[in-house]
């Protein structure tokens, strides 16, 4: 990193050599903010760990918002001809529930873990583009808030998260809900895209010495695949959203049949994005449990290269299956056959992963901690979701099942039973790493079992509802179509609604657990390595200092940390512990790196992100405001590029006494 500074005539010369580079005197407002411990530091931070936590907190907030929306939906459907919501509200509710869960919870929560742990797992000090990282987070936050502000400004989007044309045109949806939706997703899309570029560059370029690609922890692998998927999927939805924005705001006719357009164009664009999106949501959770299961089985991941490569294979084949969302939309039999086959093909690498997790547990030494329970639940529930997925890869069968509750059951098993359980596994597993305290195992087990029971009570019956012929997205169901006998629509809808509240209480218990863990005096500080973990992120303090590692380790193995703690007898293959985690860390840190240089804080990411919603509101309400927003974007980009690359010298420690030679250690370690 170069330090641009004014040449100054008064550089102190001692013994004929300058004592070091004098940091820049910033130009007026373009000064970089200095470190502080107050809330201000969270606003201007570029630290990947702080941003990871902010991603997590924000995503969890949206999880609760989306969850409340889901509970309202289930409340409406608990009995026939529900009266809780009217048709308009119901349509907004399921649209926003899906949008919130997909774009504002699962994706950013995965980004939270990726942000926090990828640099730690590969032994890097930060991500490649720290300011871009901060910008991504603020885009996500402001995009999400912008999207949800529609609730207070005439109602949310009401076209379903798939927003099929022409139902999304102003003729059929005259409120501003869909405008908020397109623009909000556009802004959060920027977050995903910048994040993807950032993490790809980080993983490819900033690994610790000795860490080859095939020595990367599997979570990092899955994040890498996910980021590549994002990199190629987000532009597609961006284009589609632009077309829709132009159709709604500027009278374009991309989906207008009277002008000769074909509304199926939207469906193709949406699903070319939408199907990789499914893998974007699930792969990070696969990564998390591929860390958790080996740790609590005391065995390396079975078939590590196959798991990594099957992740990559899913990433590739995932691009060739989008039209299985469109089996009923009138494609010809040839296309349907091709996409049906491709969809079955993608079941193979997915199945391989399940086999490998089971084989990892097989022959291990299992301890059923809360993270492990969540991970095992993922394996089981994802298997159910995967198998129901195969049943509608069979296209003729899908024409009976698509747009019924069977599909709702399928993807909730995959995304709730899979992705969300994986994320909860991650919470419990990494909580001591992030916050020095281990979440209570007792409350955690309550949390787990309530979520498990609630999840299966909610979504299990939906399989049956769907096969009995209840379509999705209907604000009411009627007795006339419910069938007779005890186990009709009515029964299963009631079970699902009750289940959803059990699930809600389960999630609430997680929050209770967090508060209990951090408020109760009884919870002790977690040891350095509470789980006997295997990967690099546990080889530093809890929580890590700003510069992550005092010494960047040199990596010789997959599961480097484990190999430093344990030794395998060459002849008997028996494994015995030779070092404690504290010893490993002490040895690593006995020669701390010098000249650790961390990126400085910056105002500009938040300011630039803040000016994007201004353009959005302008497009909806007043075009002049758009110009103001554009001017703000230009100005803040200007500021961003003008900013000196480091903050003024308050940030720098004075030369340490005794180190001599004019060394400046340019960072004050926190605590």
């Amino acid at each position: 990193m170069t330090i641009i500074d004014r040449p100054s005539t008064d550089v102190a010369v001692i013994g004929g050599a300058p004592t070091g580079v004098k940091p820049s005197e910033a130009l007026g407002v373009f000064k970089r903010p200095a470190a502080s411990t107050s809330w201000r530091d969270w606003v201007v931070t570029v630290d990947h760990k702080k941003l990871g936590i902010m991603y997590g907190v924000t995503a969890f907030f949206f999880f609760i918002v989306g969850g409340v929306e889901a509970l309202l939906i289930r409340l409406q459907l608990i009995s026939p001809d529900g009266k809780v919501l009217n048709a308009d509200q119901y349509n907004q509710m399921f649209t926003m529930h899906a949008t919130t869960m997909v774009f504002l919870f699962v994706m950013p929560m995965a980004a939270a873990f990726a942000n926090y742990f990828v640099p730690l797992q590969i032994g890097a000090r930060d991500v490649a583009f720290p300011r871009l990282n901060a910008f991504g987070f603020w885009c996500f936050l402001f995009g999400g808030l912008f999207l949800n502000s529609s609730w207070f400004l005439g109602g949310g989007a009401d076209g379903g998260w798939f927003m099929y044309a022409p139902n999304s045109s102003t003729l059929f949806s005259p409120s501003h809900g869909i405008d908020f939706w397109t623009l909000g997703l556009q802004i959060t899309g920027i977050a995903s895209l910048t994040g993807a570029i950032n993490l790809i560059v980080t993983v490819l370029n900033m690994r610790a010495p000795g860490m080859k690609m095939m020595r990367m922890p599997i979570f990092t692998w899955m994040v890498l695949v996910t980021q590549f998927l994002l990199l190629f999927a987000i532009p597609v939805i961006t284009v589609a959203l632009f077309l829709l924005t132009f159709q709604r705001s500027f009278d374009a006719t991309f989906f207008d049949v009277a002008s000769g357009a074909d509304p199926l164009l939207w469906q193709h664009l949406f699903w070319i994005f939408g199907h990789p999106e499914v893998y974007i949501m699930i792969l990070p959770s696969f990564g998390i449990i591929s860390e958790v299961i080996p740790v609590f089985s005391k065995k390396p991941l079975f078939g590590y290269p196959i798991v990594a490569m099957s992740g990559a294979a899913i990433g590739f084949v995932g691009w060739g299956v989008w039209a299985h969302h469109m089996f009923a939309s009138g494609l010809g039999p040839v296309s349907v056959t091709v996409f049906s086959m491709a969809t079955m093909a993608i079941a193979v690498p997915t199945g391989v992963k399940i086999v490998n997790w089971v084989m990892t547990m097989w022959g291990g030494k299992l301890s059923f901690t809360v993270p492990m329970l969540f991970a095992i639940a993922l394996v089981v529930q994802f298997t159910i979701g995967g198998l129901s997925g195969v049943t509608h890869a069979v296209a003729p069968s899908d024409t009976q099942q698509t747009d019924t509750y069977y599909i709702v059951a399928h993807f909730h098993y995959v995304l709730f039973g899979g992705a969300v359980f994986g994320l909860f596994s991650g919470f419990y597993y990494w909580w001591p790493k992030m916050f020095r305290r281990q979440l209570s195992e007792g409350l955690g087990k309550w949390n787990f079992w309530l979520m498990l029971i609630g999840m299966n009570l909610t979504f299990g019956p939906m399989h049956i509802l769907g096969l009995q012929g209840q379509p999705r997205r209907m604000m009411v169901w009627t007795e006339a179509r419910a069938g007779e006998g005890l186990f009709n629509f009515g029964f299963w809808n009631r079970v699902a609604s009750i289940g959803s509240f059990v699930l809600g209480i389960g999630v609430l218990l997680f929050l209770v657990n967090v508060i209990y863990t951090h408020k109760s005096k009884k919870v002790a500080i977690s040891p350095l390595d509470p789980w006997d973990a295997r990967t690099l992120e546990w080889m530093t303090h809890n929580p890590p200092q700003e510069h992550n590692f005092d010494t960047i380790p040199t990596v010789g193995h997959l599961d480097e940390f484990f190999h430093r703690k344990y030794e395998t007898d060459a002849s008997t293959h028996s494994v015995k512990q030779v070092h404690s985690a504290e010893e490993v860390m002490a040895e690593l840190n006995s020669h701390p790196d010098e000249h650790i240089h961390m990126p400085s804080r910056s105002y500009w990411p938040i300011l630039l992100a803040l000016s994007l919603p201004v353009i959005g509101y302008g497009l909806i309400y007043n075009r002049m405001l758009m110009a103001v927003g554009a001017a703000l974007v230009l100005l803040t980009m200007f500021g961003w590029s003008m900013e000196p690359s480091t903050s003024p010298d308050e940030d720098f420690d004075p030369p340490a006494p005794g180190e001599g030679g004019g060394h400046t250690k340019e960072l004050s370690p926190l605590g």
Binding site: I4, A258, S259, G260, G332, F638, S641
Partner: protein
């Protein structure tokens, strides 16, 4: 004292005076040019005088005190394009005032840009005594604006020239030229990537020449006008179907274009051997009577397999307007393709608002000029 530079000024001044005399003689007493030349001469002689007075700013080698403080010993301001640019902008501004508002606006924009640049350069020149630092400081401030705007302008020039070239080329030549240009760019690019050591100067020169050539050709062809077909089309209001008759009142340049949406249309209508027949998914065999839903955007595909150019016309009733005073005007409700050459195809989207019983003549699909070619359209 006659110094080196004062010689130039005195000489030029003398030539100007001589020129004014020649002018008067040549123009038979016309004074205007002569007056201008005399003014120039006076200005030049004045400059010559100043040069003599300061002895070209030279310092005597004996005058050692002057060696550090004389203006010539100081670093002058750096090179600047901006005065030139400003002058150009002013010129455009004036020319624009007289000729077209477009040039005027460009002039204003250029003027603001140049003055801004000039200002910033002046400021940065005084930032410190280190010229390279000053240059960097200028870069900080203006590069974030200069580079994107410059890039956009460059792109604009390329796109504009490119599009002018292809609008002027004939339909046949277009793809060939495009292929050649594309191949050249690809070739040059791959050469560059293979021969890493190529000097930046060479690359820059090639790019510059290419850009210049592109813009010169672009400007030339833009002045020359678009190809004939497009000119005619523009005169005929760009394919606006003013009538669905036999004769081509409008340009039908587009008629040979293939239609991509061939599947799932309401009906495919084929003209063959002077007769029309329709094919519809779900019905067997060629039909001469088809049924379309009312108030539905039905896309109908027309295939011309007959000799000559033909158009398909869908007639679906008429609108009667009262013009007042008992006078009524009848307008046929029609939709039609443009003329389609043999083997060509084209689609129309028709929305028929009323059922067939609303019209005494019934609805039909016909081909103007061919008596027997007709399909009955029933709308329930």
């Amino acid at each position: 004292m006659i110094t080196t530079s004062s010689k130039l000024f005195y000489g030029l001044g003398a030539v100007s005076i001589a020129g004014s005399i020649v002018w008067i003689i040549a123009h038979d007493g016309g004074a205007l040019g002569a007056v201008a030349l005399v003014f120039i001469a006076v200005a030049l002689l004045f400059l010559g005088g100043i040069a003599s007075y300061v002895r070209d700013g030279h310092i005597l080698s004996t005058d050692t005190e002057q060696h550090d403080s004389a203006p010539a010993a100081q670093r002058g301001p750096s090179h600047s394009w901006f005065p030139l640019g400003t002058a150009l902008a002013l010129g455009m501004l004036v020319v624009g005032l007289v000729t077209s508002p477009g040039i005027f606006k460009v002039g204003v924009a250029l003027l603001l840009a140049m003055l801004g640049e000039w200002l910033i350069q002046n400021w940065s020149d005084r930032a410190s005594s280190d010229p390279s630092y000053n240059e960097r400081v200028r870069g900080w401030v203006v590069h974030p604006l200069e580079i994107p705007i410059g890039g956009a302008l460059l792109l604009g020039v390329i796109v504009l020239s490119f599009s002018r070239i292809f609008l002027a080329l004939s339909v046949e030549a277009g793809p060939i030229v495009f292929a050649i240009l594309g191949a050249l760019v690809l070739f040059f690019g791959s050469m560059l990537s293979i021969r890493r050591g190529t000097s930046k100067r060479l690359v820059g020169a090639v790019c510059g020449v290419a850009l210049l050539a592109l813009s010169v050709v672009g400007v030339a062809l833009a002045l020359n006008g678009e190809r004939e077909g497009l000119t005619i089309a523009a005169e005929e209001d760009h394919f606006a179907h003013r009538a669905c008759g036999e004769e081509a009142e409008e340009s039908d340049e587009d008629a040979v274009r293939a239609v991509s949406a061939k599947s799932s249309v309401a009906a495919t209508v084929t003209l063959k051997d002077g007769a029309l027949y329709a094919e519809m998914d779900g019905y067997s065999g060629p039909l001469t009577s088809i049924s379309l839903q009312r108030a539905w955007n039905s896309s109908i595909l027309f295939l011309n397999e007959d000799e000559g150019e033909h158009r398909m016309v869908v007639t679906y009733g008429k609108v009667v307007e009262s013009l007042g005073g008992g006078v009524e005007r009848e307008t046929l409700l029609q939709a039609c393709t443009s003329l389609v050459a043999q083997g060509g195809q084209q689609g129309v989207v028709v929305n028929i608002p009323k059922p067939s019983i609303s019209s005494s003549e019934g609805f039909s699909i016909t081909v103007p000029g061919l008596e027997g070619a007709s399909i009955e359209v029933m709308v329930p």
